[in-house]
């Protein structure tokens, strides 16, 4: 069988090339499609938290949506320990930021302030534009609007107080976001807790869960019973929009893949049929020499199988290389190794090989050796 394939080297190579091309296309598109969804999901994380945890009867205090109205009603709190324990036990993969919001006195004015962990903030609020540097030990960030109003510059020291307790932190930087952050002073969480005399308390927790749609809701409901009375809310602005966008991207990729595959496969199948069909003389000769129908069919079937496997395998390698190139160029992501796609690629190679050879195999049945040898 192998000898017969090698005998017609030119044609065999053509068939192999065609099969490899089709399966490499299938491979590349498959890998890129799967990865695309994950990559886009990573990109949309830049929009920030998709879940928030708030006390059951929370009230808006200051700086909500950029409104400076001062405290509206009595604040209610979350227990930091309970929250951290709940997050750990839920087993969810997420980024989080803990917040303690309140009002502090700066000079003669009441200003909105929040105690946060700055390492957490950098992950959940990647759009903050900083003038100066991120806070070190005991340092603070001041929102640009607030800084402009009170003449605060990066590097200066401010004095904030609450209920008799005072702090004099250095301002390491000014933050601009175009949102509510511009009117808030950000202090380290323990400092804020101490100033407000609310040790171990929080007003809000933001979560960025790696999940979407139904799985996000599921994550929320998994978390709720562990929180002892606090409420988990979906940040619809981020969660819903991301879900819808990802669904569209997935659908688009699927359609594009289908269109390209169908078109490539149709021409490949055609090419294969044409190339193999012209072997009718060989078939005739074999039959005339006494080969049984079954024998001849097995020979040709075996050839096709072999070609299909080799073509599919080669296609997988080429396709993976193409996919890796595309992913690295567009998303600066490392290559994905997807053995599952190998199966798909082999499948494509084999099915194309068998479809392509089905025509000639059929003709084996009906072939009259004499006529084919004569050249009709």
């Amino acid at each position: 069988m192998i000898r017969s394939l090698l005998h017609r080297r030119g044609r065999t190579l053509l068939l192999l090339a065609v099969l490899s091309m089709a399966s490499s296309l299938a491979t590349a598109l498959g890998i890129v499609s799967f990865s695309m969804e994950k990559r886009v999901a990573e990109e949309v994380r830049r929009y920030g938290a998709n879940l928030v945890v708030v006390p059951e009867h929370s009230r808006v205090t200051v700086g909500s949506g950029g409104l400076n109205f001062g405290t509206v009603g009595e604040p209610s709190y979350l227990e930091q320990q309970v929250v951290e324990e709940a997050l750990r036990r839920s087993g969810l993969v997420l980024d989080r930021s803990l917040h303690l919001g309140g009002t502090l006195r700066l000079g003669s004015a009441d200003i909105p302030a929040e105690g946060v962990d700055f390492t957490e903030i950098r992950k959940l609020f990647p759009w903050w534009q900083l003038q100066g540097g991120w806070p070190g030990e005991g340092e603070v960030l001041v929102g640009s609007e607030l800084a402009a109003r009170h003449g605060i510059k990066a590097g200066s020291t401010i004095e904030v107080s609450s209920g008799g307790r005072t702090a004099r932190p250095r301002v390491s930087g000014i933050v601009t976001s175009g949102g509510e952050e511009d009117g808030i002073v950000y202090l380290p969480l323990p400092v804020m807790q101490q100033l407000l005399a609310q040790p171990g308390k929080l007003t809000l927790v933001r979560l960025l869960v790696t999940a979407g749609g139904e799985r996000l809701k599921e994550a929320g409901s998994r978390l709720t019973p562990l929180l002892g009375g606090a409420v988990v809310k979906e940040v619809r602005q981020v969660a819903r929009t991301s879900e819808s966008l990802l669904a569209k991207v997935k659908l688009l990729m699927a359609l594009v893949t289908a269109v390209v595959l169908i078109s490539a496969c149709s021409s490949v199948t055609g090419t294969m049929s044409t190339t193999i069909l012209e072997r009718s003389r060989e078939i005739g000769l074999l039959k005339a020499m006494g080969g049984s129908r079954r024998g001849v069919m097995l020979l040709f079937g075996g050839e096709s199988l072999l070609l299909g496997i080799i073509g599919g395998g080669a296609g997988y390698l080429i396709g993976s290389a193409i996919a890796a190139f595309v992913l690295r160029t567009v998303f600066a992501a490392s290559a994905e190794f997807m053995p599952l796609v190998l199966l798909a690629s082999l499948g494509v190679g084999l099915s194309l090989a068998s479809i392509g050879s089905s025509g000639p195999l059929l003709s084996v049945y009906r072939l009259d050796p004499v006529r084919s040898l004569r050249g009709e």
């Binding site: 903050w128 534009q129 976001s177 659908l251 688009l252 390209v260 044409t274 998303f331």
Partner: protein
């Protein structure tokens, strides 16, 4: 004569011609649909990303405690240089009031806004503006306000006041009172849940600020920020400033809006603006690469079909050479056949590709795309180009065939 040859070819080997035709048609269909989708796709995805919310905030220069913007200036927003990039805007007037309902009372925030209002811009026509346009993620259980005394309440506020859709809330501000009929409860997971939203005019009269707004949120299509866009326009030369102004950076669109709203300052909302720049450029590059990949594949598929069909016809070529045809004649005949098939294939491919592009657009984005007639010559020309490129190698090989060997079989 060429057509006669093609017809003969077809009669003798119908399958071969059909397969060639199908390959070319499919190849140019893929090319057409991608090109047709391409530009439209970028636009559609940009619009999709607008659903994340407004990326420009317009405030009074004096700051939040004093100063207001004029409602009358709002209609001019859709007349700025970048007006076609502005997909929507909504004004807000905020104030605190004593809210009470069924015995419960507390201080709360009342926000006057437009929900879906027809705005007529001089010289530009009508458009719908308001919260429903720029904040599609608001979930309202009940319905949106229609009459002047109707309002929707944020979920958290509603829970504290014990109000549901169908109930009423009294708002009192320094002597003025307004009774709102609650027609819906809004859930967003954000600060909106702490506010009461009512038609702008009603809230303006409640706070005695007729014709005024506290801020405007604008949603605009923008291009990703780069180093040039990040520069301070104040320090640019005239040429640089024009280039900056004429590029749809979020900062320059903001500047546009600032110019028509008296006493305002417009700034980008970076949470939305910075994320979308990266997302958009990544998605666009991905689509481009994918298109190139597919086009290459389509061209390869066509070439291999051609090579296969050429190889099959070597006896014919041998025969022609034996009866005395010279190289040029042989080339002309075969290439001619291929070109005729390619032209028809290209046309068919264009029609199919147009259909496909429309189908994909409708399934994914629920929208139609305009039929692009200029793609027809492109499709046919590319089909011809690929056909010629694909036949060169096999043709050259075929020409070197010795007639005797081929005719003997």
């Amino acid at each position: 004569m060429l057509f006669r040859m093609v017809k003969n070819s077809f009669r003798r080997r119908p399958l071969s011609v059909i397969i060639l035709f199908v390959s070319v048609a499919m190849g140019s269909a893929v090319a057409t649909s991608f090109l047709g989708l391409g530009g439209d796709l970028s636009y559609r995805i940009s619009l999709e990303i607008r659903n994340y919310g407004s990326n420009i905030l317009v405030e009074p220069v004096a700051g939040e405690r004093g100063g207001y913007l004029n409602e009358a200036d709002l209609s001019r927003i859709k007349s700025v240089f970048w007006r076609y990039n502005i997909t929507g805007f909504a004004p807000y007037l905020f104030g605190q009031a004593e809210l009470s309902s069924g015995g419960k009372r507390e201080r709360g925030v009342v926000a006057g806004t437009w929900f879906a209002r027809q705005v007529i811009t001089e010289g530009e026509g009508e458009s719908t503006q308001g919260v429903k346009v720029i904040s599609p993620w608001w979930e309202v259980s009940g319905r949106w306000p229609e009459a002047v005394d109707e309002a929707i309440v944020g979920a958290a506020l509603a829970e504290r006041l014990g109000v549901v859709a169908g109930g009423e809330i009294d708002a009192a501000v320094q002597g003025a009172r307004q009774r709102f009929r609650v027609v819906g409860v809004v859930t967003t997971g954000g600060y909106e849940e702490e506010q009461l939203f009512a038609p702008l005019e009603t809230v303006q009269s409640l706070f005695a600020r007729p014709g005024k707004v506290s801020r405007v949120l604008v949603s605009a299509l923008t291009v990703p920020m780069d180093d040039f866009g990040r520069r301070d326009p104040a320090g640019m030369s005239r040429e640089e400033y024009e280039k900056w102004y004429c590029t749809a950076y979020v900062t320059s669109v903001a500047k546009n809006v600032e110019e028509v709203m008296a006493g305002s300052r417009a700034k980008p909302i970076w949470q939305i603006a910075s994320a979308e720049g990266d997302l958009l450029s990544k998605l666009n590059s991905m689509m481009l690469l994918l298109a190139l990949l597919s086009l290459t594949a389509a061209a390869t598929a066509v070439s291999t079909s051609l090579m296969a069909s050429m190889a099959e016809r070597s006896p014919e070529i041998g025969l022609m050479k034996a009866v005395g045809a010279d190289r040029l004649q042989i080339i002309a005949i075969f290439l001619g056949e291929v070109l005729v098939i390619a032209m028809v294939g290209g046309l068919a491919g264009y029609l199919l590709g147009d259909l496909l592009a429309g189908l994909v657009s409708r399934i994914v984005f629920n929208s139609t795309i305009k039929s692009t007639l200029w793609l027809l010559p492109t499709a046919v020309l590319s089909a011809l180009a690929v056909a010629v490129a694909g036949s060169l190698a096999p043709l050259r090989r075929a020409l070197r065939i010795e007639p005797v060997r081929v005719l003997k079989g």
